[in-house]
Assembly symmetry: C2
Homo-oligomer: 78 residues x 2
């Protein structure tokens, strides 16, 4: 069964680069990658925060938050 990976972003240039390179480089055989734009899906900001996400872009893998470079703090998306 594939594991879930969630890529949180906010459409910023740093986010787009990370999405196109890091998120897209994940192994599709092992990971089902969900892309979540927190600027458009504000209802999911709390979920990201609870998972440990502090800024975007961030990748949630097996429940662990990995912040990739720095685009914007989560607080700017509330």
């Amino acid at each position: 069964m594939k594991r879930n990976a969630i890529f949180y972003h906010a459409g910023c240039p740093v986010c787009v680069a990370a999405e196109q390179q890091v998120a897209a480089a994940l192994d599709p055989q092992r990971y089902a990658v969900e892309i979540v734009h927190l600027g458009e899906q504000k209802g999911r900001v709390a979920e990201a925060e609870a998972a440990g996400v502090k800024s975007v872009p961030a990748l949630l893998l097996d429940g662990a938050a990995f912040h990739i470079n720095f685009g914007a703090p989560l607080s700017a998306l509330k």
Copy 2:
């Protein structure tokens, strides 16, 4: 042909987590991932710096540096 990815780290706990989860999640069909411990291979710090790496752990994908969380600044490894 596989593309090269380089994961730079320094053995720190943040580095190990990123290596075991992010670097290991890359698609092995598309990427040949090289793991470089900059604490043990100080001769490669300059190469990492030239590629835009400012801290470890960092992943270099297609020439672009993606800093994953924050373990240590590159300056601490010189």
